[in-house]
Symmetry: C2
Subunit: 153 residues, 2 copies
DNA sequence: TCAATCTTGATTAGATAGGTCAGGTATGTT
DNA sequence: AACATACCTGACCTATCTAATCAAGATTGA
């Protein structure tokens, strides 16, 4: 139901690596592959998706590589996830085309909003964790997220 | 990443049907299949999983069928989901066996807690929506869940 | 020129989800 | 007893998706 796939995990790890890089220094895909133990060609594929989403910039040729295109504090896990994982949230009800009566509840259904809210909920969570916060592991999860939990757990 | 699969949606719909049944009246799998437009054999399969989880009771033979084994107010969506969907939450980090160094972060990783919290978060949400609440669609999503969202959205 | 490095898109092997099937067991009715 | 109804069990199939690989090209720096 909720699954952090390898592309999402890899992308996050790569981004954290880049964020840890001092200044605007670049890292090559080759190097990131070695550092993060992610298959070389797969690193390429993931970085391209991140680039197309505007999260990283690249420079080709010798001494080329990648670097973040925004400050770590402006990049959220949510953006990373959306960049590499097309359908972040998907419910069955939405898969039926209009005429299809398969989901007989379509109108005034009490169940559907539960899934939809859950989707928003997860998005809200992911959009409130930034790369910058991940660089300070002693904080654990973002303080900004904690309010979402309500009372202490 | 977050996907409401058909087994989860079907199970929820079937449970709502049963909850709507007055008193302890039973419904046959055949009938539920027709009412909810879910493949006959698949209904069987799903109801068995719900029964093994203790959420429904069955009676065999003529005039047999299924009914809830608990009051609707004591059955949460979370329990339904866990009954039909084995690995509700799964992160990549957890897939590597101890010796495997694939995930070089394993210790003191700042990323992993983000996924773990998300898992708890989703569980908390699902465990706070009951069948009883779904029977009153005018309420939309449970008031008990709203506090999880923090301020108005 | 040459080597390093990103860029593009197709392809493949394996896992998973969604659904089907065949055969069995229990129970009510006649 | 016989029969129909309906649950029960577990194996099986198939389309889709994921993770990963591959091949060929385009830039850049030395
Ligand atoms: S619209 Fe799909 S369950 Fe109600
Ligand atoms: S332990 Fe897997 S990303 Fe850190």
């Amino acid at each position: 139901m909720l699954r952090i796939g390898s592309s999402v995990e890899y992308a996050t790890r790569l981004m954290v690596r880049l964020a840890a890089e001092a200044d605007g220094a670049t890292l090559s895909a080759e190097r990131m592959s070695a550092l993060e133990n992610v298959p070389r060609d797969y690193v390429d594929q993931i970085l391209q998706r991140l680039r197309r989403a505007g999260l990283v910039e690249s420079r080709r040729g010798a001494q080329g590589g990648y670097k973040l295109s925004l400050e770590p504090s402006r990049i959220t896990i949510g953006r990373i996830v959306k960049a590499v994982d097309e359908g972040v949230f998907e419910a069955v009800c939405g898969r039926y085309s209009a005429g299809d009566t398969k989901c007989s509840h379509s109108d005034g259904c009490g169940i559907r909003p539960v899934w939809e809210r859950l989707g928003l909920f997860v998005e809200e969570y992911l959009d409130n964790v930034t790369l910058a916060e991940l660089l300070e592991p002693e904080l654990g999860v973002s303080a900004r997220v904690k309010h979402l939990f309500g009372a202490e757990r």
